[in-house]
Symmetry: C2
Subunit: 352 residues, 2 copies
């Protein structure tokens, strides 16, 4: 078995010291042209693979990762990423990784700006961010690029950004899958409603992607269903109940597709009014949704797996910073279909 090549061996071959080799490997300068050439020549020749264990031991560094994410106390959806982050932290703390949170209000773009700025100001080694606001994100990413701070996106993709990686789902396919599940076993024709709840539609392209996917599927398959699209206001407002009541009395309504994690608001109405002829499909395993999934008002939830998204975001940054690994620039998670029966298997299974 051929021994692996050490820095020492390179130094020997190039007739320089280990210190010089180290400086070349890490582009730290203070190397003459002559020495540089010699070392690079040897490096071309042989395939040097540093011992990663020794590397982490030697570089007794600690890494700070800044998190720019919505406040989980405001919307239960954001509790899951927080969990994923804390799981990732326990896994990576042994390599000196630490995280620092910069929370923002998911309905307030100025709050987002503030959080982003604060994160940048803390001068972290890497940033994990859920860029909910398209416009406010762009200048931020420019700054990150300038300062060469690596960053990863999750939840929402911004195509103009050049992150280390985006971790999320294909939203168009997500809408298509919802449509497919909606059609399953439907005998007669009728109407499907697409409902956006409490979203700034103009500034959130991702929601419209889901809608498009849903409609495209029906068109392609020549399904004999009408679709109507409705945007509902804040669930806390008084008018909300009436808006839902009016929606649910639409003649021939066979199903409702809620584009966000707010399906429970409609589930609650269906339960109250004991309607079971409307198929309800929504997103995400938040406790409110699970209640109605179990009792049958919600038929399917598509899991965006935000916990895993955040976990992988940290992992991606850690792999980059620590192991200098090549990172795939886009990581689309599977579209997980959750029903009353397979729910528990998802809740039980951990992130590995």
């Amino acid at each position: 078995m051929n021994k692996s090549i050490r820095i020492k061996d390179i130094a020997l071959r190039a007739q320089v010291s280990v210190g010089t080799v180290d400086r070349v490997l890490h582009n730290r300068g203070r190397v003459s042209e002559d020495a540089l050439k010699k070392v690079l020549a040897v490096l071309e020749e042989i395939d040097y693979k540093p011992n990663l264990i020794a590397r982490t031991l030697g570089s007794n560094k600690s890494y700070r990762i800044a998190l720019v994410v919505p406040d989980p106390t405001q919307d239960p959806y954001w509790e899951a990423p927080a969990e994923g982050i804390s799981q990732a932290e326990t896994e990576w703390s042994r390599y000196g990784f630490r995280t620092e949170q910069f929370l923002f209000d998911q309905y307030d773009n100025r709050s987002f700006e503030h959080a982003a700025e604060a994160a940048l100001h803390s001068n972290p080694d890497g940033i994990l961010i859920a860029p909910l606001f398209y416009r406010q994100s762009l200048p931020f990413f420019k700054q990150l690029e300038q300062q060469k701070i690596p960053f990863a996106l999750f939840n929402t993709n911004i195509h103009e950004a050049k992150p280390l990686s985006f971790i999320g789902q294909d939203l168009n396919k997500s809408g298509r899958t919802a449509a497919e599940l909606m059609c399953l076993g439907q005998q007669e024709s009728g109407t499907f409603a697409i409902v956006h709840i409490h979203e700034d539609i103009q500034n959130s392209i991702h929601i419209l992607e889901k809608e498009k996917g849903f409609i495209d599927y029906l068109k392609e398959r020549n399904k004999d269903f009408k679709t109507i699209t409705i945007s509902l206001s804040n669930p806390n407002e008084n008018s909300f109940y009436n808006q839902i009541a009016s929606l649910c009395s639409t003649p021939g309504l066979k199903g409702i597709f809620v584009s966000t994690s707010k399906a429970f608001t409609i589930g609650s109405y269906l339960k109250e009014t004991r309607q079971n002829n409307i198929r309800l499909i929504g997103y995400d395993l938040i406790p409110e949704n699970l209640e109605y999934l179990k009792s049958g008002e919600i038929t399917f939830l598509i899991n965006q797996n935000p916990k895993r998204q955040a976990f992988l975001g940290i992992r991606c940054l850690a792999n980059h910073l620590l192991f200098k690994r090549e990172i795939q620039s886009i990581d689309l998670l599977p579209l997980e279909i959750i029903t009353a029966e397979n729910l528990q298997s998802y809740l039980d299974s951990e992130i590995h």
Copy 2:
């Protein structure tokens, strides 16, 4: 920040050398009673947590993991675990992990015995095994226990075994989920067929678990469906086609649940005869199944994620051997529901 305690510190306190401390920590003997006492006293006093990075660096060990799995050239289902294993290998090779395969014929219990024996004989540091044969597995596990070789199970659980971990799915819940999906949107009552294809039912409890789950669900929900159970022979036999034809002509047949990865055999028949009123549900993303999932004969596949199972099996052994981590003894993966629309998202997403 208080510095962590090193072996050096213990040696200093106990007035011995680091070598002696190391011998005490690893019970390697060659330590006088006097020195032992002193070191143990210090160890009681302080909470020593070894630096795992330095440990792996120091012990420049290499680990061999033996794989006892069915031959993937015989059944495409077993290609997926092979992939998972090779992915795990690239991840763990840097820590000196190597794998060695001991393949067996999945329909031949003697071949299994031979593979197991050969694996044992190679004296590996750990074993990952898919114990398809209940009876033949038990004595093997006893031997492993005696020789203190850690092992992990995947795919099939053997409750009497005391593995490091079992990685697989809850088969009862799996059957229940299939039943739930079968019932969705079914308006009239009718018959569901449960089909076992080419399985030694007596020796494979796991298949019966799925059947039980399926039936239990229907009972609990008071669904007005009859179920019939059918065991089909080897798909390569001549009579196979007729058996399927006779099955599919069952009056009032609304759905077929195939308990293995062989749903494609029925999908092929349905396509040929252009029957689209029978809902077909099966297991696993093997190419043959995907063809009929895409073209619509198969409505749902439940993914057992064998790739991930094997991957996690290796990971579990590596964590145990390398980091001495506590391993959870059972790791049930989510019951993944795959449709034509969300299929691609599963194929694209990697194991992380």
